[in-house]
Symmetry: D2
Subunit: 365 residues, 4 copies
Amino acid sequence: MSGNTFGKLFTVTTFGESHGPALGAIVDGCPPGLELSEADLQHDLDRRRPGSSRHTTQRKEPDQVRILSGVFEGVTTGCPIGLLIENTDQRSKDYSKIKDQFRPAHADYTYHHKYGVRDYRGGGRSSARETAMRVAAGAIAKKYLAAKGIQVRGYMSQLGPLPIEFKSWEAVQNNAFFCPDPEKIAELEAFMDQLRRDQDSVGAEITVIAEGVPVGLGEPVFDRLDADLAHGLMSINAVKGVEVGAGFACVSQRGSEHRDEMTPDGFLSNHAGGVLGGISTGQSLIARLALKPTSSITTPGRSIDVHGQAIDVITKGRHDPCVGIRATPIAEAMMALTLMDHWLRHRAQNAEVSVDTPRLEQYSR
Amino acid sequence: MSGNTFGKLFTVTTFGESHGPALGAIVDGCPPGLELSEADLQHDLDRRRPGSSRHTTQRKEPDQVRILSGVFEGVTTGCPIGLLIENTDQRSKDYSKIKDQFRPAHADYTYHHKYGVRDYRGGGRSSARETAMRVAAGAIAKKYLAAKGIQVRGYMSQLGPLPIEFKSWEAVQNNAFFCPDPEKIAELEAFMDQLRRDQDSVGAEITVIAEGVPVGLGEPVFDRLDADLAHGLMSINAVKGVEVGAGFACVSQRGSEHRDEMTPDGFLSNHAGGVLGGISTGQSLIARLALKPTSSITTPGRSIDVHGQAIDVITKGRHDPCVGIRATPIAEAMMALTLMDHWLRHRAQNAEVSVDTPRLEQYSR
Amino acid sequence: MSGNTFGKLFTVTTFGESHGPALGAIVDGCPPGLELSEADLQHDLDRRRPGSSRHTTQRKEPDQVRILSGVFEGVTTGCPIGLLIENTDQRSKDYSKIKDQFRPAHADYTYHHKYGVRDYRGGGRSSARETAMRVAAGAIAKKYLAAKGIQVRGYMSQLGPLPIEFKSWEAVQNNAFFCPDPEKIAELEAFMDQLRRDQDSVGAEITVIAEGVPVGLGEPVFDRLDADLAHGLMSINAVKGVEVGAGFACVSQRGSEHRDEMTPDGFLSNHAGGVLGGISTGQSLIARLALKPTSSITTPGRSIDVHGQAIDVITKGRHDPCVGIRATPIAEAMMALTLMDHWLRHRAQNAEVSVDTPRLEQYSR
Amino acid sequence: MSGNTFGKLFTVTTFGESHGPALGAIVDGCPPGLELSEADLQHDLDRRRPGSSRHTTQRKEPDQVRILSGVFEGVTTGCPIGLLIENTDQRSKDYSKIKDQFRPAHADYTYHHKYGVRDYRGGGRSSARETAMRVAAGAIAKKYLAAKGIQVRGYMSQLGPLPIEFKSWEAVQNNAFFCPDPEKIAELEAFMDQLRRDQDSVGAEITVIAEGVPVGLGEPVFDRLDADLAHGLMSINAVKGVEVGAGFACVSQRGSEHRDEMTPDGFLSNHAGGVLGGISTGQSLIARLALKPTSSITTPGRSIDVHGQAIDVITKGRHDPCVGIRATPIAEAMMALTLMDHWLRHRAQNAEVSVDTPRLEQYSR
């Protein structure tokens, strides 16, 4: 395939450009009998929707999703699920200038040389707008997994230089940053306001966690659960790093410290982040991702045009000063899609497996 | 597939357990006409071979690879390349004790519950021994890419708490650590000796770089070059984190700092690590991976057996006190396999593309 | 995947039920720079459209296709192409009776038991209406291949008991049967009229031919060009048999008769149908497919309902008395998609191959 | 992939040339816990082995298969199964002449132009010898399916002009032709002896049947059970046609005749061949395949050499005068692999499905 499909058994194939008529996706492999309605998808779409606060792009998109197939009388039929979102706010503007420019740190330059042609309106296919369909498809996986007792949630764990401590899931839902610490929000607001005055942007770190994951998901050796998760998370726009459990901190750890010891009462720690040998342990699956600062800032930058001439670029338009702020639902979606795919893959090969050994209850975090 | 295949057009499928009769792989999709001999594969196999220094496992394996098909009169024919390495040093021992134990931080527990049965001898399929076939297959990709002007190399950038500065590629070849700084080696040796006395293990960070990568490799949106690379690197045993370019450092960077500006003379920096929008920029492709400390240490650890009873585990046997020490050739192999796959994928879809825009010469690093 | 995707590099994924809101497809892997408009797709869609003659279903569907992505300023961009056709004539009717019945020789029984739930309106996903999207996607492949000098065309070679001789391609375009013999049409018309009076249906045989195919397309050993073609053609509703070249006639042939001898002026025959060892020879690719008679007839048939009770079924509604009549454009589409996929696959692996041996000009047929 | 893998969940990847050191395969996706030994594979390998009668090639190959991984203490572990067969009888001969010749109806010409290089010894990769690995892998699928009550068997239904009636499965096992009619064997013997005197070859038709198939296997719309089966059967060397159930006979059938009516006691016929809408009905899965006459005959034939010069070719060496004679185990293997793959695929998506509707007992044939 040419890269627009994710998953092997629960497959999501997407299409759509930032300023085209619509975005769409086909979800193939969803088990039949799952109660599903557009409302189930809309919830997460609204969580990532632009314009929800002054700290995100002011583009106004209702992102109303339609289910065009695969659901009959309120339940999935086992047939492919067609999803569609019409683009409504493609503000018509004059692209004559930008069409010949390569914005620094944008995909303009690479798309131009790879394909020889590109839809330059709003970034075309490389726009973060593409992630709307990941969230819609991810919501289907989330609903299926929830029925199996698996809950996928995320939060912002760092905004630029400001680390954020986890306090509660409740807090995450009550602010535009997906910040788990209510007392930190004022500081984040102030930081973002100053950033906008500086006409600059900043990076962020998101943490995603799946609780209730059973032991046994993941296919060694190449399609390890953590390897496929890394694939999914790194495929999100602007992501430059992914880590599981202790992550890069494990470099300076010693074996006696890193190894998660076990007792009949459960694991004593979770430095593994819920994966051993590429297979889930039954503990929480924990991952973190690093998102780079938005490249579209109004501070002039040096670049070249399609003729190779030096130019100064100022990226006007409606952009997120921190793409990470809206990334939490997207990261949740990619983790849910990964788990869903591996749930089906595990079931295909191991349906007969029954082990009478006690499974360890999962470590709280 | 069930997880033992890597790549979509240049596919590597492997088999083999640590103490089985042999390891093998099938490389499918290699272009015809490539001069190839077993010697081309043996070089990298020797670089990762155990027992090459007192700091790695003392298991003695010649790791002699045989090419069983796909090569005729010294050149590849376009037919699948069968590779085989016989296991010679499967020291026969009494496994009656270990067979019922779950070693902490090992895949024992997860394999047991996923499959209901496992080859407990030396870790079976979950043993790092499996990576020998990655290296063999990667060497084929490396040779093909080299002919295209692409060179993939790696080095150790941190050992436990000791960061290592890059000094020269020459240095990397002259020590068991793949350390790029000759003056650092004595310190590493001392550290490892003390570690062994402590009966403990430690993690490491490896940096891998591909130079000479053309602009245009990578398939948005899910099969981005960096996403597939993250998949490949995270699939290596013991890897807990992967980053590209600035990686996690981008979280606290500002857009004005992170963005790589361009001039007619080239890029002015490479925080992107050679990828924009999932497509190679023509700069060096730069990735780092974090490897956890070996779980097999002789310091007793709490665990349970298959009956759920509490036990103390002491892992005897021949183990690497730092799996990272031998990981450099493996990381190179996974980067080479990823680039090779995308080279073919790009060519399939874009063979007609010809862009007269000047490609920027790559930034030195 | 779960079966709704065709192709490995030029992939077509479809969705949509007979009486749902819309049908859709995503074509991924189309090379950039191809001039493409909705008119290019509409031509073939109109050729398969129902209601074009009194010998096909009277359902009225304009089958107006929309291109939602992947095409910018008239040319493909290399990004996925989203296609959509709204269903307009889903005649609302009372399904309370049919919903509990299994129509003989229909997919009702198998869908019911596979999925436990089914969209019974007009056959849902199992309706031949699904093939509209194959035709739309196939038209993209046809246009690309045409630019390479490859022309894919088909015709009806038998209607029920009436064999049809090939006279000319011109003739094929001028009748509702895709009949290549103008003098045969009256007979076909009379046969169909009588069939309708008999309240029965009949099968048909379609022949598809690709001219201008270069030597070298096809991937041994499992993805032979003819094997993938058989996959594609057998996946069309109602197809029960596929043959290439001499087909089943080769059983009673002798080697001295079947083998296509070669001279410097070309092949002397084409019993192979354009494929040797799974790779195209450069001759015309020739395949035939057998379509069963429509199962939906008004003559009562014995069956059971979902409760296992015996029932008599009379299938009312708007059905084709011979599905084969509209099958020619669908068969062309599947051959075009197969060739397109293998064109890209061949190019990926063999771009460097240059053989100075003379290629034989293709045998006329 | 480049064509050497069959299946999506139960995948078989093969390598090996006729005169290379060995043939091999990797079977990935086999469920754990299946009792498996080399003897299970050897049985079918012996059934297809050359030299078992005077009517097949006199090449002597023990075809002793080794299991190199994936099986531990007599049961499969869920890890990839590595298979190896050493080539022992690669009679060394002078290839200087044949290396520059294209044998008519052979893959010489197509391999030469596709790859630019080829292993001309005994046909290299295009040799029927490759099918040994299909049989070995198929035996694993057969054993798994047998435990589920599915039995896959085949027989020769026509030899050249001689149709063969099915009498009994017992008969099939007692002759070199896999002939189900004991009284027909003398005629077949005489026919083959005369054929050899004529220095010619002939085609054959094989029928393959799977009994005990449950309702529900197959993934609409492209990966229909019959479409994937057609793919598998058409991928066998020399196969030119595949049909399911009534096959091409359905062209002249009427709907009232073809449709398989149902009663509470079961189906009343099986023209469908066990598949409706691409999903198994629970009846016997019935397919037929046509194999062309061997191209390697000693009667001179016109051809060209690599320089494009006209030549006369006489194919000496050890060849089957009728490749169909040894094709039955191969066809069984491909049907078993197809069913096995779809068993796992069905289970992945539909594990929760439970339908209380009575399943119809299968029609005897």
